[in-house]
């Protein structure tokens, strides 16, 4: 990379594109009609509940991916 100077503009643009992934948890959790339903159930959990639990992991995975992809830039 470029020594002590800040990262070049192209690297910053690339980093911004990865940041867009962080919008996904907001879309999929704040659009409530997507998951306010009973079925399909999983291990006795209505969809409304296991969908939210699933998103804990998805959101952490997405954030982890963005972390890995942006820290070298």
């Amino acid at each position: 990379m470029t020594g002590n100077s800040p990262p070049p503009a192209s690297a910053r643009r690339l980093r911004r594109r990865w940041y867009l992934l962080l919008l996904l948890p907001y879309v999929f959790l704040l659009w409530v009609p997507l998951y306010a339903r009973q079925r399909p159930e999983l291990f006795g959990f209505p969809f409304f509940y296991w969908y939210q639990f699933l998103w804990i992991f998805l959101s952490a995975l997405l954030t982890g991916l963005v972390y890995r992809k942006t820290r070298a830039l």
């Binding site: 100077s5 948890p25 997405l62």
Partner: protein, 522 residues
């Protein structure tokens, strides 16, 4: 309750004493000069990923959370799960915003969010606004931690006797005074292990006793529907906006509180904060399980006078006494960590952003730390007096208003971390309007956080904090160009764009792309 539960009390006492000892000795841990506010109030900004994980987790998921989230789900059903959504979507926000706050604060020795507002906008009025929001919102929050501790002590069979709470409180005050932020950091390790222990045991053991999750959900749905004010297992249409705005508003406000900002600032680098944005959802998973306890309590047929007693009543009913005692100790320790950080954070705000600029400009470093320690004691005693002689409902209402107040600092802090576009005076006016309107909206509904807004024949019931924030931002957007045109000085910005970025390691030029050097410690 008749008589003291001896086995539960013995286990409880053991853990409280353990925590007291650890708290006192933690001042020596990676010791620095505790006569300096960055050492006392931020523990020298040196916590790595693991300690920060325990500290931020132990700070953010408070004792009141442990009591109130299951109580809410017990009381209203599905809409209580906004807390789970909120604690998921908070972390992408933390990932993007908080490392910038850490970087600029490290570079300019900012200890509070109001310090940042002062440095960025050169306006002590704006800094005062941030400090007032922070202190007002935090004081009732401290009192609520004591309420959480009181609930767990009462469940041991002490009823409403004051002395056990006073004893726990004195321990808190003493270790906070002597050890500063190092005390909650070490105690948060114990808290993390205890809380994980009790929640995991509960979500495995209780369904076994109650006939499985499918049965628990089934009974909960039936019981909620039969209530005088029916609750729902699946969120109904009419509650969608309320649910989404509560989740969003809470998530945006969560890390603008003085205590969460303080624990973030005490970590050792922006990278530590980003890693924790990835790892802290493990605590959110715990919160989700905890919320399920509300349904378990319904299925177990727990009946209580106050919903705050739901969790203790469930444990007393289903667990052996010694394990119930362990759970109550976990809740009480769970209150010590955030209460300590909250009182440190609000005394930092008072000392640096009110006392020094307005009352004593010549404040020296040693005196600053001494004043902060004293003020943190005063704040805690205020909270204790409130809990002992005040009214718990009043405390809860103030804390609900606190969320509305804190969110009004978002335009100055969050936007300020990316661009300095707003005029500081426009931000102050927006803040005032947001505070006033948000408070009166909540007040008009009998201190409820949801407000039915009527627009063009439609009614949108939403979190009042979000409505107030929209007004706040709108005013700041309109007034900024106006104030500039009228020639109002827009203050001096002491920060540079590079201050917000991670420091570039000196050897970066010699390292190939993709094999970046380790920044920060683990």
């Amino acid at each position: 309750m008749a008589g003291v539960n001896a086995p539960a009390t013995a286990v409880f006492a053991f853990f409280i004493v353990l925590v007291a000892v650890v708290g006192f000795f933690s001042g020596r841990w990676r010791s620095g000069d505790l006569g300096h506010i960055e050492e006392w109030g931020l523990a020298g900004r040196q916590f790595g990923t693991v300690v920060s994980w325990f500290l931020i987790g132990g700070d953010f998921y408070t004792a009141y959370t442990l009591i109130a989230v299951p109580a809410l789900v017990f009381g209203v059903g599905a809409s209580g799960f906004f807390a789970l959504v909120y604690t998921i979507i908070v972390y992408p926000f933390v990932f993007l915003v908080m490392p910038r706050l850490w970087n600029v604060s490290k570079r300019h020795n900012y200890v509070t969010l109001a310090d940042f507002a002062q440095g960025r906008y050169g306006s002590h009025w704006l800094a005062l606004a941030i400090a007032i929001s922070g202190i007002l919102a935090t004081m009732p929050y401290i009192a609520l931690q004591l309420v959480g501790m009181q609930v767990s002590i009462a469940a041991l069979g002490f009823g409403n006797t004051a002395w056990p709470l006073v004893a726990a409180f004195l321990i808190l005050a003493a270790f906070d005074y002597t050890s500063g932020m190092r005390a909650p950091a070490t105690i948060s390790l114990i808290k993390g292990v205890m809380v994980y222990g009790f929640v995991l045991a509960a979500v495995v053991w209780v369904p076994l006793k109650l006939g499985g999750y499918a049965h628990i959900f089934h009974v909960a749905a039936r019981t909620l529907a039969l209530r005088p004010k029916p609750g729902f297992l699946i969120l109904p249409h009419g509650q969608f906006t309320a649910f989404a705005t509560l989740a969003l508003g809470s998530a945006l406000a969560a890390f603008l509180y003085p205590h969460t900002a303080t624990s973030v600032l005490s970590s050792s680098s922006g990278t530590v904060i980003r890693r924790n944005a990835v790892l802290l959802p493990a605590y959110t998973f715990l919160l989700g399980l905890l919320a399920l306890l509300g349904y378990m309590a319904i299925a177990a047929g727990v009946s209580v006078h106050s919903t705050n007693d739901v969790v203790p009543a469930l444990f007393l009913k289903l667990f052996p006494s010694w394990f119930a005692g362990f759970c109550f100790a976990a809740i009480a320790v769970g209150g010590l960590v955030p209460a300590a950080i909250m009182s440190i954070a609000s005394s930092n705000l008072f000392t640096r952003n009110i006392y020094r600029p307005y009352l004593r400009p010549a404040l020296g470093r040693a005196e600053e730390a001494r004043v902060a320690k004293l003020v943190s004691l005063l704040i805690k005693f205020g909270a204790l007096a409130f809990v002992l002689w005040g009214n718990a409902t009043y405390v809860i209402n103030l804390q609900l208003l606190g969320g509305i107040w804190i969110l009004q600092t978002l335009p100055a802090i969050v936007f300020g971390l990316f661009r300095r576009w707003f005029h500081p005076l426009a931000l102050v006016v927006g803040w005032l309007a947001g505070m006033a309107v948000g408070t009166s909206m909540a007040w008009s509904q009998g201190i409820a956080t949801l407000y039915p807004l009527h627009i063009a024949g439609f009614t949108f019931t939403a979190y009042a904090a979000i409505d107030a924030l929209a007004l706040n931002l709108g005013l700041a957007l309109l007034l900024t160009p106006l104030l500039r045109r009228l020639g109002f000085a827009s203050g001096h910005d002491q920060t540079q764009p590079a201050d917000y970025e991670d420091p570039v390691p000196a050897l970066a030029g010699a390292v190939a792309l993709g094999a970046a050097p380790q920044r920060g410690g683990a």
